[in-house]
């Protein structure tokens, strides 16, 4: 990968982290109603997106994919508008929880808050492409929690029968809110589902940008060759509580939290890039400053914006 591209990606990671922190703070100040943070999942999302083509592929995402949305071209202002429920929110017109809805520029769809419903929907998206001989790939994201839902099983089974070009990408952070993996399943890896459907299941370290990228790339190739779906399980950490409403010290041990912090993917990526000579300490400092200023300017702007008017509440409903 080109150095200049890696720098851009690194910058997206920084923006994502800073913006995510800002939104969490806005919530603490009572200015944003709720936030689910993507902190800890950033590098996994960036590595994955890099292997896809936003002008061709379909992205069915879920609420923890703040970074992915930025990587696909959503701007910081748009993200803020989304959390602050301001007029012109690109995802849902301030109707839905932040991060939900669909995107006007990319085929990025995060339709509902109901965990796992996107999985069969993604299979349908891929089926339509196959029927129309399109060579797009559909990637659908979900958490470890979602893997327990019946819909997850039905989706993987259906996709495999028809060899559909779909990638099941699980961001396994070890928790569904407070429920740890061992209470969710009696296997260590979600990728071990693969033999139930006769599709490859690959587990990968979600803090390693390059592994994620390579793994996703292979799955994309498989899909495009008509070889069918792939399950990718990316092991990541959820650095913050489930949402701003949660307090994870209630259910996570001190040592668990300590271990998790060591796996913060941004410093790991940073060190990789330093080793590769892509960035140095000084670059980092400058970029971090720039990022803070982007976040500040965006926040100031969006905070001044209006809320949507009452009558647009009727738009796109049965009453309109």
């Amino acid at each position: 990968m080109e150095k200049i591209r890696l720098r851009e990606i690194y910058k997206t990671a920084l923006i994502s982290r800073a913006l995510d922190e800002r939104i969490w703070m806005l919530n603490r100040q009572g200015r944003a109603a709720i936030a689910a943070s993507g902190q800890g999942h950033e590098i996994s999302q960036l590595g994955c997106v890099e292997a896809l083509d936003s002008s061709r592929d379909h992205f069915l995402i879920y609420y923890r994919q703040f970074t992915l949305m930025l990587a696909l071209g959503t701007t910081p202002e748009e993200q803020l508008r989304n959390f602050l429920a301001k007029e012109g929110d690109i995802m849902s017109g301030a109707r839905q929880f932040p991060l939900h809805g669909s995107h006007p520029r990319v085929d990025l769809f995060s339709f509902s808050n109901v965990v796992a419903t996107q999985l069969p929907q993604a299979v349908g998206v891929a089926l339509a492409d196959k029927m129309n001989d399109k060579d797009s790939v559909t990637i659908v994201f979900f958490g470890d929690g979602a893997a327990s839902q019946g819909d997850c099983h039905e989706a993987m089974n259906f996709a495999s029968i028809h060899d559909l070009p779909v990638i099941f990408f699980c961001e396994n952070n070890g928790y569904a809110i407070s429920v740890p993996l061992e209470k969710q399943m009696n296997v260590d890896n979600i990728s071990s589902r693969s033999s139930a459907y006769n599709i490859p299941g690959i587990q990968v370290d979600g803090t390693d940008f390059f592994s994620i990228y390579e793994t996703t790339k292979e799955a994309v190739d498989r899909a495009k060759k008509g070889l069918g779906p792939t399950i990718i399980e990316s092991k990541v950490e959820r650095l913050l509580p489930h949402t701003t409403d949660d307090d994870h010290t209630k259910y996570r041990s001190a040592s668990d939290i300590e271990h998790m912090i060591e796996r913060d993917p941004i410093p790991i990526f940073e060190n990789q890039l330093i080793d590769l000579g892509v960035i140095n300490k000084k670059d980092i400092e400058l970029m971090k400053k720039e990022v803070i200023s982007i976040v500040n300017i965006s926040t100031d702007k969006v905070e001044k914006e209006a809320f949507p008017s009452l009558d647009n509440m009727l738009l796109h409903s049965d009453l309109n």
Binding site: H58, L60, D89, M91, S92, G93, R95, Q96, H100, G101, S102, H103, P104, F109, F111, S112, V114, T117, L119, P120, Q121, A122, V123, G124, V125, A126, L127, A128, D129, M131, N132, G150, D151, E154, A155, N157, F158, I161, L315, H316, S317, D318
Partner: protein
């Protein structure tokens, strides 16, 4: 114009629509080589091939979830749920998801799916092949719910449903499938969604109904002539939206209303129709609004005599009409 049954009207309409629009495809259990357990899709596999007539695994949530995904990506799927009683696993995808896609994306995505569901009883189906399942769908903003009673309406409304850009729950009464025959034009006429129809004009009382019950009501109306009662019969045809205008107009004219339905009573279509009348026809009403429905037990026993007792019948309808008119 030819005289055909409801099931033939459904099959023929799907056939014609699939010929017209390549974006339409069918998915469901046993829809391909079996042609559907009621034969609603018979012959379609041969005509359109297995890319457009897809036998799915036995998993209703994915049938609807996959249909939603395909619809959002430009297709116009027709999903078949084999029996209404088995639609419950798919509620999350239909009521939770499909209904809110247009609203929840601020109009950026649409979800043109038609979900065909054979429902209703009187076919010795017992508790699990007889249910009326319209209530939740007809309650849910964002869905359209259609329940035709005649071949003409079935074809005309199915065509509109398939062409509609919102998710449509299309309810076909199993007992009407072969029992009810009627004239259906050969062209591709359509009937707008959301319009009730006066199936028989009268002055003394309005009987409002839908589905299989329409036929019993029409028979009862005929019999009521012997008692000098001129019944107006209104077929709702669409359960969401409910055509309150046509209801109110009719009841304001007759001054009396009876609602007949196969579904159980509490919080049902009959409740809504009564509520509409109670609000909008109050000053023209000459009598309480009555409802004739089954009793509050799970629908409906396998026992033939109990099943018959459970359902509203011509005799019970005549009796209710006469009571309401005190004749």
């Amino acid at each position: 114009m030819s005289v055909i049954s409801v099931i033939e009207a459904v099959r023929k309409t799907i056939f014609m629509e699939m010929k017209r629009d390549k974006k339409i495809f069918i998915l469901g259990e046993d829809v391909a080589s079996r042609g559907g357990v009621f034969l609603a899709t018979d012959g379609l596999l041969e005509e359109f091939g297995d890319q457009r007539v897809i036998d799915t695994p036995l998993a209703e949530s994915s049938i609807c979830g996959v249909a939603i995904g395909a619809a959002v990506n430009g297709m116009r799927p027709i999903a078949e749920i084999q029996f209404a009683d088995f639609v419950w696993p798919a509620i999350n995808q239909i009521v939770g998801e499909a209904s809110k896609i247009r609203y929840g994306t601020f109009g950026k995505k649409k979800c043109p799916i038609t979900i065909r569901i054979p429902y209703g009883g009187g076919v010795r189906g017992g508790l699990y092949h007889s249910q009326s399942i319209e209530v939740l769908f007809a309650h849910t903003p964002g869905l359209k719910v259609i329940a035709p009673a005649t071949p003409y309406d079935a074809a005309g409304l199915l065509r509109s449903s398939i062409r509609n850009d919102d998710p449509v729950v299309f309810l076909e009464h199993k007992k009407t499938y072969r029992l009810v025959k009627g004239e259906v034009p050969d062209n591709d006429y359509s009937i707008p969604l959301g319009k009730a129809e006066v199936k028989k004009v009268g002055n003394d009382i309005t009987v409002i109904t839908y589905g299989l019950m329409l036929h019993y009501v029409l028979q009862a109306a005929e019999e009521c002539k012997h008692f000098g009662i001129n019944v107006e019969v209104l077929d709702l045809r669409c359960l969401r939206p409910i055509d309150s205008e046509t209801i109110v107009q009719s009841v304001n004219k007759t001054g009396r209303a009876l609602i007949v339905q196969e579904d159980t009573r509490a919080i049902s279509v009959s409740s809504e129709v009564a509520a509409i009348i109670a609000e909008d026809c109050f000053f023209d009403l000459d009598a309480p609004i009555k409802r004739l429905t089954p009793i509050e037990i799970p629908p409906m026993p396998f026992s033939p005599i109990q099943e018959a007792e459970y359902m509203p019948s011509k005799i019970k309808i005549v009796k209710s009409i006469r009571e309401l008119l005190e004749i």
